[in-house]
Symmetry: C2
Subunit: 302 residues, 2 copies
Amino acid sequence: MLDLGRLRALHAVAQHGSVGAAATALGYTPSAVSQQIAKLERETRTTLLERRGRGVALTDAAHLLSATAGQVLALVEHAEVALEEQRGAAVGELRVGAFATAARGLLPATVVRLAERHPQLDVRLVELDPPDCLEAVARGELDLAVTHDWVNAPLAVPEPVSRARLGEDVADVLLPAGHPLADRESVAPEDLAGERWICQPEGTICHDWLVNTFRGADMEPDLAFRIAEYETQLALLAKGIGVALLPRLGRGALPDSVRAVPFRPTPTRRVFAVWRTQAGRRPAVTATLAALRDCWEQRETA
Amino acid sequence: MLDLGRLRALHAVAQHGSVGAAATALGYTPSAVSQQIAKLERETRTTLLERRGRGVALTDAAHLLSATAGQVLALVEHAEVALEEQRGAAVGELRVGAFATAARGLLPATVVRLAERHPQLDVRLVELDPPDCLEAVARGELDLAVTHDWVNAPLAVPEPVSRARLGEDVADVLLPAGHPLADRESVAPEDLAGERWICQPEGTICHDWLVNTFRGADMEPDLAFRIAEYETQLALLAKGIGVALLPRLGRGALPDSVRAVPFRPTPTRRVFAVWRTQAGRRPAVTATLAALRDCWEQRETA
DNA sequence: TCCAACATGTAGCGATCCTAAACTGAAAAC
DNA sequence: GTTTTCAGTTTAGGATCGCTACATGTTGGA
């Protein structure tokens, strides 16, 4: 494989017309340039320079080589510039994970915003539960994830992962419109004894939080419906079949047949973005973080 | 300026997916590849590789750089191949000089033939008198020249120039059709005493030869018309204004008003191709030499 | 004929680049 | 949970490379 330094030497000679001028241009002595080209000649088994009077002339092979050397040098220079530019730009593929509610309520706007601001950024989205999110980020399968914890089940991030808080998401109890508690200012676990709950499957944080909170009041919730899909939960609620605890994030307009009532103690989960600390320097990561924050703000003011 | 070896290392990692595989592919140890990329990272002040589990993953910058590295490597490889091919092919620019008669009578056919055989060869033609030809070749301003001497004025080629004889060109005396000598088998200087000569300007070999030959017979030719252009000489001859000594090379069909009569002693000039010995290895030079020989042969048999 | 300009050759020193081997860290196997 | 294995990195050291300074060889002009 030809050496770039030698090609540069040859190209300089071709451009400046003499070994000495080329050496000056490159900041070397003529001897160095001469030696470089001599080595290039040995490597290619080709005569590149011919002495002509006091100076030198390039052979056909040298012209040929110098021409492509020019292209190569231009390309390399371009790469350097691109690298420099890229140091501040968000490009490439960014794999994002988010828990279901955020995937529904926050990420669509974020992806749109990123697409507007950074057209070169290719965002991939995966819906994952918070523990899986963290693991995937730590393993490098995701570049960034939106996750959450509840105040009574704080999120532990492993060492090489950083996190930033986006904000808090409050959950309300959703009741059929005709329910006796439907017009209360707020409800407590005690008020809801005997209700049949619509809840996410076991193993999800939503499920665990509900169980923990009721056990704190020395009660056991009746988790009659284990439903992962938001729309399905809503459909069940609309039919008055049970009650549910649903976060405000990602909750659209409710049907008339369903009422939201604040819960006491307020079920608040903190929403975080997490990423490998290592990758924090990636412009793509910081840009996504910024977009997430913007979209979160916009959601709250809306 | 980025180093080609490092770019190749990065590209290999990108292609093979791991440092070890890249090292195997390149014939190095993983350590070498790792160091190369570490240096590349320092040079570009960019993170290129991130550890991911047991292996590594490329950052955006690395992907960017690897992509252009691929282009660069392809270009360099292409240059190497081109160089290899070119080692046997006639390509590039070839500057050819020829004395006027050869430029008229030999070179056009040669240029056509070269263009057929070697379309990549770019032939430039300059009309130059033999001494200038030799000088230009020796100086490297011409790559090859067609020159001549007369038997009584042999051509001396300087050391770093080679020559090859193409053949001999005989000159005849051209007389107006009505001239008393027009139907003779041959004429000698003595026969032509008092004639007004149409001749090339002083300083040309043609001129000098005429003077020398006549002085050898203790005569002085009357060089009444100093004309460089062949067509002009012919026009003068056609009007019966003088006589001329014109070589057979490059002489087309004569008008009826002009007759060619052999001269005694026969004015014979040896025609040579000359080139820098150094450049003799150039395929372009050998190809042109071959074409010149072919065209000369063809001319004689025609 | 000497001198100036230019390229090339030589010696040597410092930088570079590779290998080998120890080290670190993560996944897999027991 | 502990050990093994795998992959990449770090470190040390020796060979090579690539530069500079200086000498040499040519060429072209005063």
